[in-house]
């Protein structure tokens, strides 16, 4: 995945609760076998509405999404994270995230950052005056040109992977000895090749 250390850019605000992954990327696009090209289908059904928030001209080219609580709930489709990342977003700020989406995002080079509602309100107010924000994953803080400074927390392991663009599988395979030891001590009860 693309390494992510710092992003400075425009933010788009989607202030709705419980935005599920069916909305982020509807099912018909899950039939694809490629990993790329989902950006043009982001929020496919909601984009048909000319009043949809993300169609505002001032949000064009946004790299940061400011969302509502429980963002990315529902289906486990990682395609939702791929669509956001492919459409240019590198960071999502929200009061809370769907669990599986949160994990998928970190593995896609998209940083899901949880912030309390009060701090998000301050950020949105600043963005309304001037649409520019810097998110720094190394310093763990958000800054706005008006002077607003908001520190945030981020899981250290996920942060390290994102900032360095690391391949998690390669890292795990370095722990081969532990995996083999576990397998030796825990023989399987079945063999799936006998069940197909």
């Amino acid at each position: 995945m693309r390494a992510l250390q710092q992003v400075t850019g425009k933010a788009a605000v989607l202030d709705r609760p419980d935005v599920d992954t069916d909305q982020i990327i509807p099912k018909q696009f899950l039939k694809r076998i490629e990993r790329s090209g989902y950006g043009e289908f982001l929020f496919f059904d909601w984009m048909k509405d000319p009043d949809f928030e993300l169609r505002r001209p001032e949000y064009e080219g946004a790299q940061i999404l400011v969302a509502g609580r429980n963002f990315g709930c529902g289906s486990s489709r990682e395609h939702a994270a791929w669509a956001l990342e492919d459409a240019g977003y590198r960071v999502v700020l929200a009061p809370s995230f769907g669990d599986i989406f949160h994990t998928n995002a970190t593995k896609t080079g998209l940083a899901p950052i949880e912030l309390p509602e009060a701090e998000l309100a301050e950020i949105k107010a600043a963005l309304a005056r001037r649409n520019e924000l810097t998110v720094d994953l190394e310093a763990l803080e958000l800054t706005h040109p008006d002077g607003l400074r908001v520190p945030f927390e981020f899981d250290e392991f996920a942060r390290h992977m994102l900032v360095n663009g690391l391949d998690e599988i390669g890292l795990t395979l370095q722990r081969e000895a532990s995996i083999a030891a576990y397998e030796q001590a825990h023989p399987a009860r079945f063999d799936t090749s006998l069940l197909s």
């Binding site: 609760p17 419980d18 069916d22 899950l30 990993r35 250290e156 399987a188 799936t192």
Partner: protein, 464 residues
């Protein structure tokens, strides 16, 4: 030291731990289907990595398959199904393909083959993997990158979740079943109430459920935002598993029973959160809105947004009612439906079909309704046909289909047209879930059968 069931399973699956890092957990069973695997296999191929444990991996075709016999006409869907077949052949992963006789919805196939067993860790690129927790397993959904990680290493890096116990006290009243229990729980906990937690379901009402009932409850755990749901294994569990193709036998069976009987939550174990629900006052449930938490008893009415104090929630309810084409104050009982769907990994097993057939028997589908029954697997379909259930359904005017995910999510030809209202035994009523503009009402199989007969949402307890 007292432990919960979850802690027992978690602790026994730790491969390696490092301070400040998620734990490396072993995966006992990896279920695969065509939608969330192609990119994972492709990445493996590009990195030159094999599938580490083909003996612990098994695939099926379910989301894209048409539920009518014949070729797959959607070329993109066909490409994805072909990709799965090719990937399984190239990597040596066992596959129960369409037409093999063992295929079906992945979460129906696993348990019926006896692959789902107590104490296991089970993953799949599908959020309803929580279904398998009904057997006292730690089972959860993962994304495609994690699918690739499991294929390559048979492990997963996981941050330890918190624990929640949901206790269902009391005895289930007539006409109320597992689907109503879990819809009622989600209505109570909220769609994000379980986030960060693994839920253990307990209490006399859960213990009295069959395995299929427990699967229905665990299946929809994800809709409360929780990581996984589980029920401690007991004699009901062991009886279900015994004799199935993947179940141990002879001395190995006795050894397994000894291990499985130790899988329980100690009486003095502590959970991070506890919820108690009294089922005696439960009424058949039906969703009215656009997420499973927007739900109520059949004898209630569409809520009034003005009654919601939180402005964010109020707006969400207003939006949901606009999408669903419903007016506040309209009684749920009486809302006309265009389609009825009995199927999905939530409710498509033999007991669901028997229960629906019992309601249908002697009646006909209302002329204004198109109703469909989709068995969860080829095996369920055969058993239902042996019992004559298919003839009860077709005699009443239902379509009797081949196994597959079907209209749960509109990725195959079974799809709602914009504005069509459907009474569905599936698990999600999000905007567009069953088809762009489609309006979904989630309910139990008996409630779906009642809606098909009357042509509208109906209190099944009052149907004669």
């Amino acid at each position: 030291m007292s432990k919960t069931l979850f802690e027992r399973i978690w602790d026994s699956h730790v491969v390696d731990e490092r301070p400040g890092e998620p734990v490396l957990l072993f995966v006992d069973l990896h279920l695969v289907h065509e939608v969330t695997s192609p990119q994972a296999f492709e990445s493996l191929r590009l990195a030159g990595r094999p599938v580490r444990r083909t003996d612990l991996t098994i695939a099926t075709m379910d989301h894209n398959v048409p539920t009518e016999p014949g070729p797959v006409r959607d070329t993109i869907a066909k490409a994805q199904l072909d990709a799965l077949a090719r990937n399984c052949a190239n990597f040596g992963v066992p596959l129960n393909a369409t037409g093999s006789g063992r295929e079906g919805i992945v979460h129906v196939m696993g348990p019926e083959l006896g692959l789902t067993q107590p104490g296991m860790t089970i993953v799949c690129g599908d959020s309803h993997t929580s279904t398998h927790g009904a057997f006292g397993a730690l089972a959860f959904g993962i994304g495609t990158s994690e699918v690739e990680h499991v294929l390559a290493t048979q492990t997963l890096l996981q941050a330890r979740p918190r624990t929640m116990r949901v206790r269902f006290a009391g005895e289930l009243p007539f006409g109320v079943g597992a689907k109503d229990m879990v819809l009622g729980a989600i209505g109570r906990i909220g769609v994000a109430g379980g986030v960060g937690h693994v839920i253990e379901y307990g209490g006399p009402a859960v213990e009295s459920l069959s395995m299929e009932g427990r699967m229905t409850v665990c299946n929809m755990t994800i809709e409360a935002g929780a990581r996984a749901g589980m029920v401690a294994p007991d004699e009901t569990t062991f009886t279900y598993i015994e004799g199935r193709p993947a179940a141990p036998s002879g001395a190995a069976w006795e050894r397994a029973l000894d291990e499985w009987r130790a899988l329980r939550t100690d009486a003095d174990a502590v959970f991070d959160a506890e919820v108690e629900i009294d089922v005696a006052s439960l009424v058949p449930q039906v969703t009215w809105g656009t997420n499973p938490g927007m739900v109520g008893p059949i004898d209630s009415s569409v809520p009034d947004p003005a009654n919601y104090d939180d402005p964010v929630e109020r707006e969400a309810v207003e939006r949901a009612l606009r999408y669903m084409g419903l007016e506040p104050g309209t009684p749920l009982d009486g809302i006309p439906v265009d389609r009825v769907f009995i199927g999905s990994c939530t409710n498509s097993r033999i007991e669901d079909l028997r229960a629906a057939a019992e309601v249908v028997d002697g009646h006909r589908v209302a002329p204004s309704v198109r109703a469909m029954v989709v068995p969860g697997s080829a095996k369920v379909k055969r058993q239902a046909e042996d019992e004559g259930l298919d003839r009860v359904f077709t005699g009443a005017g239902f379509e009797w289909r081949e196994a597959g995910c079907s209209m749960c999510l509109g990725m195959n030809p079974d799809i709602l047209a914009a504005g069509e209202r459907c009474a569905s035994t599936s698990n999600r009523n999000f905007e567009g879930r069953q088809g762009a503009g489609g309006r979904t009402h989630l309910l139990s199989p008996t409630m779906a059968a009642a809606a098909a007969i009357s042509g509208h949402l109906t209190d099944v307890r009052e149907l004669r």
